[in-house]
């Protein structure tokens, strides 16, 4: 039976934005899995992890509450799914705070009234990975695999925000295993000893504090190499961006030779499900994965 969700794609997923290839692969993946995503009409930015400084508390919540209100109107009764870690976290945080505080709910609705909206916070806010694992399960996700990604060693880089503070049910904050399991599900080989799976990549501070952040990114990549990974997989657009695009700069600075593809889980799944390189958004990666492209071309 088709699964149907209210969908919050987030800014980075827009066409010609930094995670547009993520979106492409998600669409392919969902097609295969018969998942219907109902995009929230006229959604706005979540405020991201950096919005607090200028935005403060209530405005930030109002940003998210507006999306929630729009979703409640357009797709009542459906869970809200986000693909971006920050979008998910920001919206979920707002949802929980609103549910926990009548005062905040009142303030928020007072502000939203200006836009002609009202929020109830009655929809669950979930990350795409949660929906895949909890609503379908690994067995179900394995069924459509037609081109198993045999022999590819992949380090599952979970990062922070899909993992903390909420995380995926049943997973530990320090050693989540769901990416390893997804890697297994698509027939590839998880690098289970990879020990930087929850190290922070610097997040938004990759922009404002590049030197400090790159130290972290270097660690993340180095460990993947050290443990024999050929590829890194991640569920988060910021992680993907930071770990992929700074490799050149880090190479220059530290005289390293990093050149490791950083993929989204959805890209692996799309390829394994038989999508073309383009449908899997493989052309969107700065560091290309030949192996995946070869499999996709088969």
């Amino acid at each position: 039976m088709a699964k149907e969700y209210s969908f919050y794609p987030g800014c980075s997923s827009e066409r010609r934005a930094s995670a547009s290839n993520y979106m492409v692969s998600v669409e392919s993946m969902c097609d295969t899995l018969d998942i219907k995503l109902n995009e929230i009409p006229d959604w706005n930015c979540c405020g991201a992890s950096i919005g607090y400084a200028e935005g403060g508390e209530l405005p930030r919540h109002v940003m998210n509450a507006r999306n929630m209100a729009l979703s409640e109107e357009a797709s009542p009764g459906q869970d809200i799914i986000a693909t971006c870690a920050a979008c998910w976290l920001g919206t979920k945080e707002t949802s929980e705070r609103l549910r926990g505080s009548d005062a905040l709910m009142a303030d928020t609705n007072e502000a939203l009234k200006e836009a002609g909206l009202q929020v109830k916070a009655d929809q669950e806010v979930r990350h795409m990975v949660e929906a895949l694992i909890e609503d379908l399960g690994y067995d179900e996700l394995a069924k459509p695999v037609t081109k198993p990604l045999e022999g590819i060693k992949i380090a599952g880089y979970v990062g922070c925000q899909t993992n903390r503070p909420f995380g995926i049910v049943g997973e530990s904050f320090e050693n989540p295993k769901y990416l390893d399991k997804l890697v297994e599900t698509v027939g590839a080989e998880p690098v289970e000893a990879y020990d930087q799976k929850v190290t922070c990549c610097g997040g938004a501070l990759a922009f404002s504090e590049p030197d400090k952040s790159q130290v972290l990114i270097k660690k993340i990549i180095e460990s993947a190499y050290d443990h024999g990974a050929e590829m890194i997989v991640t569920p988060c657009p910021v992680c993907q961006l930071n770990v992929e695009v700074y490799q050149g700069m880090i190479n220059k600075k530290y005289n390293t030779k990093f050149n490791i593809p950083v993929m989204y889980y959805s890209q692996l799944m799309a390829v394994a499900y038989g999508s073309s390189a383009k449908e899997a958004g493989l052309n969107g990666n700065v560091v290309r994965s030949k192996k995946l492209e070869e499999i996709a071309a088969k």
Binding site: S49, I50, E110
Partner: protein
């Protein structure tokens, strides 16, 4: 608002703590810290902090108002949430750090040149304008944050990266020109304006 810096903060009395509780997001958790230091050890940019979260909480309790609010420590928060999930007292440390940064920023005493503070401001203004992030505009304004010359330098440094993004279709070269954002910009603006008013009133910041 009152100029609290001019007042003598009574050391180890609750004056500053009360101010933080009233005005800082999740500030009413500060008194629950038991100084175990797990947050300090958990922070990925811990090396870069002059004062760890736990120490900041102690400083708040010791009444060190100026030192806390002018500190750039909380601006080092990457929002990784390690501290939150490990804190044995379940303090929402990430949010308190954000709250303190925001409060210092709103008071105008946050470190002026802190890059994260400036980036955050650019970012917020960027998203509020159209309701969605314009990544190119954001990057460019970030590069030119420290003036034109530095900006050119930074953008040159970043060229390799930008080109890669362009080539893969993940950066919109026309983004400066293309119309962008949500339809109901005005509704969003009005709601945010209202939200700001409510919050300022609550915190005595207007």
């Amino acid at each position: 608002m009152r100029d609290k810096n001019a007042e003598t903060m009574q050391k180890y009395h609750n004056d500053f703590l009360r101010e933080v509780e009233a005005n800082v997001e999740e500030g009413d958790w500060v008194h629950m810290c038991m100084q175990c230091g797990v947050c300090a050890g958990s922070c990925p940019l811990g090396d870069a902090w002059e004062h760890s979260p736990q120490k900041i909480f102690m400083m708040i309790r010791a009444g060190k108002r100026e030192e806390v609010l002018t500190s750039d420590s909380m601006w080092m928060c990457t929002s990784c949430y390690n501290c939150i999930v490990r804190c044995p007292r379940e303090l929402p440390i990430t949010h308190i750090m954000h709250g303190l940064a925001n409060y210092a920023h709103r008071l105008g005493i946050a470190p002026k040149m802190n890059p994260t503070r400036r980036f955050a401001k650019l970012f917020w203004n960027n998203i509020v304008k159209t309701g969605r992030v314009n990544e190119l505009k954001l990057s460019i304004s970030l590069y030119f944050m420290d003036g034109f010359t530095n900006g050119v330098k930074t953008s040159l440094e970043m060229t390799g990266m930008g080109l890669g993004m362009l080539k893969t279709g993940r950066l919109d070269a026309m983004g400066l020109l293309r119309s962008h954002g949500i339809k109901d910009k005005s509704g969003l603006h009005k709601a945010l304006k209202k939200a700001r008013e409510i919050e300022d009133a609550r915190k005595g910041l207007s």
